[in-house]
């Protein structure tokens, strides 16, 4: 990936879209220091990563995790409080309140005691987002939060994310489904290894920009040409 430069607006839901292998997830991981960055600069909330880390929450792709792991939903959400308390300090009453509230917001309060392996895909995603909410972040980064999730859960998650935005938080998510971007996001970055277009979804995702990102029509030759161009 090279030459991706993008700014994301605050207090908005922004989507990163692009074809498979275009580096969407990598961009997110690079921003968080999960993959080495060769060159370039990442500013989160107007500060370098080191300073902003505590104010940023990350929701990885669900397959990145071992779901047979022996923890309950509540414990997973509680992990969102660990960075605030460090290795040894005890969790306080306010931590427990934050966990309760996060469980409530993602609708998992009734399942808090369940081992995570006994959850459906949608419930797992809710638990993950609950953990991020428990961090009470100003910026929420999500990697494909709507992949493999039914419409009901998608609606519920979208409602949670809108709530974050309406409270002044910023949300950036990697998304693969072009048909729903306009409904989900206020702002979009279209990329294919490099930035193709950015802006409000209607303005950025023009047919011309999509052709450049995905290749006009189909066929490797055309995709190759648009890369080179």
């Amino acid at each position: 990936m090279w030459d991706v430069s993008a700014g994301f607006p605050r207090a908005a839901i922004s989507a990163i879209v692009g074809p498979n292998g275009s580096g969407k997830s990598t961009l997110l991981k690079a921003a968080l220091g999960l993959v080495p960055v060769e060159s370039g600069q990442v500013m989160l909330l107007g500060a370098p990563l080191r300073e902003a880390r505590r104010r940023v929450a990350y929701v990885p792709q669900r397959e990145d995790v071992d779901w047979d792991f022996p923890v309950t939903v509540r414990e997973v959400v509680e992990m969102g409080r660990y960075p605030l308390r460090g290795w040894v300090r005890r969790l306080r009453a306010e931590d427990r309140e934050a966990v309760d509230e996060a469980l409530e917001r993602v609708g998992m309060a009734a399942l808090a005691g369940r081992q995570i392996g006994r959850l459906s895909g949608g419930q797992r995603q809710r638990a993950f987002i609950g953990r991020a909410l428990a961090q009470q972040p100003e910026l929420l980064l999500l990697d494909e939060p709507f992949a493999g999730i039914d419409a009901r859960t998608e609606e519920a998650i979208l409602e949670v994310l809108s709530g974050v935005r309406d409270a002044g938080g910023s949300v950036i998510l990697v998304h693969h489904d072009l048909t729903t971007v306009r409904r989900i996001a206020d702002w979009a970055l279209l990329m294919n290894v490099r930035t193709v277009a950015e802006g409000a979804p209607d303005a950025a995702l023009t047919q011309e920009a999509l052709d450049r990102a995905y290749g006009a029509g189909a066929g490797d030759a055309i995709v190759g040409a648009s890369w080179a161009g």
Binding site: V71, Y82, G107, M108, T153
Partner: protein, 413 residues
């Protein structure tokens, strides 16, 4: 440690062995969970094998015979092996398991070559270097116990202190890194803990089979524990029990300790995998059989209900024809219903008892609820609960179930 040994109601040599094995099993059982849950069980194996050349080199350089020095060499070699594995994994395109395989076999071969070469050196026999291959329970000294106890206590303390961040990282490394939990330090600590456990176990179990002490307790405990805290405690206790049993058997029968302990550990894992409630193979099979029988009974019940609605109570033959089910299934289903008091056979004709009729209605309602969920579930709101198709009302709660009924009736007035 003397007082502790006197507390054990065994002859002195056996008491020393038992205590040593317990310390080893406890530490390795707990620490092994860190490797197993991170899906890196074989890292423990590689570290144990990598310890062998360290032992021989420590002997060659210092000429020392006492285990402290030799084990210090083992620890150094283990850490070098760990660094190499991480280096190969990060710096090359080799997958992790290949890196482990290369380091394991390379170090172990080096150890064997050095061992053979050293066999003729003066004092090699007294140092008992061969013992570190398969382990030996007999000949353990009180002094060895002190080293084991200190290392073990320090390891367990570290796990207890860093319990929360370790849990977060084992579950989701990406989260631990992204949220600045100090993932690098946690990984370093995990490796150091593994090396410590291996150092404790080398004399008793030996390099080749040490991995069993790390993996088996966790594997068995995982069958019965669904949370990390209880899992660590159970694995530690199991490890200690396995260690003591195996070491005593070995000391009495004059066989190498490693293989005997590992046989005991394997037996425990086998029992846990087969018979553990909720997760065991046997338990699963029984549940599946019970489910199948219950489903057959329910289907036949509904068939009878439908047939009674249409006309006279059916015979078994009519039921089979009508439902297209094999006659044998129908016979078994009816037999079960009769046994449970849900149906009566009267002159070859089957009718439902009052209880059976109520059951049939409940089953019908449950099916209707399930369709209602599929049609209207989205309208129930934000809650993440999802119904169990076998018991929709129970899993959703009465309030939600009633709303579903309401919604489906509103749809078809």
């Amino acid at each position: 440690m003397g007082w502790l040994i006197e507390l054990i109601p065994l002859p002195y040599p056996d008491a020393v062995v038992a205590l040593g094995a317990a310390l080893l099993g406890l530490t390795a059982g707990v620490v092994g969970c860190l490797a197993v849950l991170a899906q890196r069980s074989l890292v423990g194996d590689a570290l144990a094998h990598a310890a062998l050349p360290g032992i021989v080199l420590a002997f060659l350089f210092t000429g020392a015979r006492e285990p402290e020095t030799l084990l210090a060499g083992a620890a150094c070699a283990g850490l070098v092996g760990a660094v190499l594995m991480v280096g190969i994994e990060r710096g090359s395109r080799l997958p992790a398991d290949a890196a482990i395989g290369v380091v394991l076999s390379g170090f172990f071969s080096l150890g064997i070559v050095l061992l053979t070469h050293t066999a003729h050196t003066e004092g090699a026999e007294q140092a008992g270097l061969e013992r570190y291959l398969f382990g030996q329970a007999a000949g353990l000294l009180e002094r060895d116990l002190r080293v084991m106890a200190i290392l073990g206590a320090a390891s367990l303390l570290l796990v207890a202190v860093a319990f929360r961040p370790l849990k977060a990282m084992l579950f989701d490394r990406g989260f631990a890194v992204a949220s600045g939990l100090g993932a690098r330090w946690l990984e370093l600590a995990s490796t150091a803990l593994l090396v410590a456990a291996i150092v404790i176990g080398l004399r008793m179990v030996g390099a080749i089979l040490m991995v069993a002490m790390l993996v088996a307790p966790c594997a068995a405990a995982r069958q019965v524990c669904d949370r990390l805290g209880p899992l660590l405690v159970t694995a530690g206790a199991l490890g200690a029990a396995v260690g003591v049993t195996g070491a005593l058997l070995s000391a009495r029968s004059d066989t190498p300790a490693g293989p005997v302990i590992v046989l005991v550990a394997s037996a425990v894992v086998a029992v846990a995998v087969l018979a553990a409630p909720g997760r065991g193979v046997a338990w699963e099979a029984r549940r599946r059989l019970a489910d199948r029988r219950a489903e057959r009974g329910r289907s036949v019940l509904l068939d009878i209900e439908t047939a009674m609605h249409a006309g006279a109570p059916p015979t078994e033959r009519e039921l089979a024809l009508m439902s297209g089910r094999p006659a044998r299934d129908v016979r078994r289903g009816v037999g079960r219903l009769v046994r449970d008091g849900h149906a009566l056979v009267d002159d070859g004709r089957i009718r439902l008892t009052a209880e059976g009729a109520a059951m049939a209605h409940a089953a019908l309602e449950s099916r209707a609820l399930w369709s209602a969920w599929l049609d209207h579930g989205a309208l129930l709101g934000l809650d993440g609960r999802e119904p169990d198709p076998r018991d929709v009302r129970g899993s959703l709660g009465d309030a939600a179930a009633d709303r579903l009924v309401h919604l489906s009736q509103g749809d078809h007035p």
